[in-house]
Symmetry: C2
Amino acid sequence: MAVTLKLLAERTGKSITTVSRALAGYDDVSEETKELVRRVANELRYTPNFLARSLQKRRSRTISLILPTVGPRFSDPFFSEFLTGVANMAAERGYDLLLSVQAPDEGEMELYRRKVSSGQVDGFVVVRTRRRDPRIEWLHKSQVSFVAFGRTENDADFPFVDVDGVKGMRLIGEHLIGLGHRRIAFLSSPSELLFVEHRLDGLRQAMAAHGLDPEEIRILPGDLTQKSGYEATVSLLDDTNPPSAIVACNDLMALGAMSALHERGVSVGSDIAVTGFDDIPMAEHAHPPLTTIHQPIYEIGRMVCEKLVRLIAGEELASRSKILEPRLIVRSSCGSLRKQSEQAGG
Amino acid sequence: MAVTLKLLAERTGKSITTVSRALAGYDDVSEETKELVRRVANELRYTPNFLARSLQKRRSRTISLILPTVGPRFSDPFFSEFLTGVANMAAERGYDLLLSVQAPDEGEMELYRRKVSSGQVDGFVVVRTRRRDPRIEWLHKSQVSFVAFGRTENDADFPFVDVDGVKGMRLIGEHLIGLGHRRIAFLSSPSELLFVEHRLDGLRQAMAAHGLDPEEIRILPGDLTQKSGYEATVSLLDDTNPPSAIVACNDLMALGAMSALHERGVSVGSDIAVTGFDDIPMAEHAHPPLTTIHQPIYEIGRMVCEKLVRLIAGEELASRSKILEPRLIVRSSCGSLRKQSEQAGG
DNA sequence: CTTGACATCCAAAACGTTTTGGTTTAGAGT
DNA sequence: ACTCTAAACCAAAACGTTTTGGATGTCAAG
């Protein structure tokens, strides 16, 4: 049925070894023979059996990405773009991408272990890193190739790509303080995720740098979803002394906040400032467009994957880790500068 | 290094055959031996080599999803949820998911072919079906297992899951006409995608059912992105006789339209009605919340995957295809009923 | 004592590659 | 005539499973 080396050997009158080596381009095969083999291989549309090859080479040219979902359903606007970056780079380098979904529980580590010891994958892309991350500890200890998107608290030196969240949120803070905001609320999320901590730190640094007390930041819990941004904001509005600026730790929560504000008739941009973080596609088209920090998420996906492929190939990485510079995108959700001066003038 | 059947055989003093059959639960192995083998396998943390097993069984227990991206980057809010559905069901059934990204060009079919003939995957999930879809033609002809999300024009009877777009958009049409709208614009996209055609048909049917001329629908080109919804709407607003309702063929375009309307100071809901299709998470939190058609996208992912797994296992499918009933979600982007009556009263 | 049935086990082949460790042949050098 | 080298080739082993087709031993029935 399938076209195998055996068939090619019969058709060319050569041995399986020779056919194999001809296709692989070894120079102990004559030019004529190579030509012949290639021709017949093309005619019969020969495709090497991936399983047999991987079994023998003990390399599967496959990388794994295990998505730590919380509920059964989740919706991360980042996800598709990051994944496309990873998948595109993987394809360019001749790798395949095996995707799994697994809640961060007891089963999680077992899944990692099995993927490795079954010979299925050569390495991992780790996403949504946690403060103390058992995945990274295990992968590091087991000497399995991996690259993370995000950092952890344990000081183990492992390869990762991340955006400088501290600096990013400092930029947001500076921007808001520059616009005159003093009463700031921060829409947070479970502190298990380290990047949230980074972002809050950045905001605190900006406060401190301007002689303001970082303790004055009003911190509200959330879980990164629009819904939780909405709910947190509703509770804020019932307060006697509501903040003049709402700093959300991601865009989704910022959009939820804006939704609550609209509902209450509070005008975003003039009555209150709202900022996000991530610059998801929706941010630009929100109403009003959202001031936020841009993360080049597609590029990050590519970088993570490229590092991983290098690692698997045994190359030395010039730099194990890379922290990207954040970029402040000023839109009108904090009031445009023009508006500010108008207000000052009026 | 790795724990193999050979090692287990040595440790238990049995043959490789017996160890293999013990673990597989055959009843030509004594209970004691099974117990012994299981114990040792657990102690040594034996994991079957996936590649060797698949090679021998000629089944990889892996399904493939090849994402037909347009540009290098894309952002589909559906994607993450659909994929999670597929991946979750795959995991439940003991399957893995291999993800690739490939533009719909010459390379596309070659990729499908290679995945099959390399023995890498047992079947495919096909997404974003096109009117005449070479992927489906080829898979059908080659007798490869696959399930599609969406239909095609060619009448080949293949398994798919889809939402009844005609009916969905008819519901939207009825709703708008019931609210008194007559001048309707439709934000379309390249007609290569069949579902867009279905949706337009539904709108036409609603018009015709109420004695209105379907030809009166003003159709504007687009490409399913917010940006194109925005641009189409801007061009509409420059018109002398702008429509009273904008029907977008998906939510993203509807959000782009709303963004343009806000910018021009047109009030969505009272001055003009806007509708979407899909019910992405953002729709609920838009300003105003978007009236749209709900698609249970996570469930669809699960259904598609389950059908595929069944097909691969050689089970007869009770129903090869499934067309889901659409559900109209009325929010306030067309004006709330209360508002309507207020207007009437004033 | 033979036969058959049954329970338990296992050697070898197979899946399709790549790698190892050769062999064969022709021609050059001495 | 002999050895050496280089070019071209290939048989067999290996990767780790599962399956095929027995083999062996025990016990009961005849």
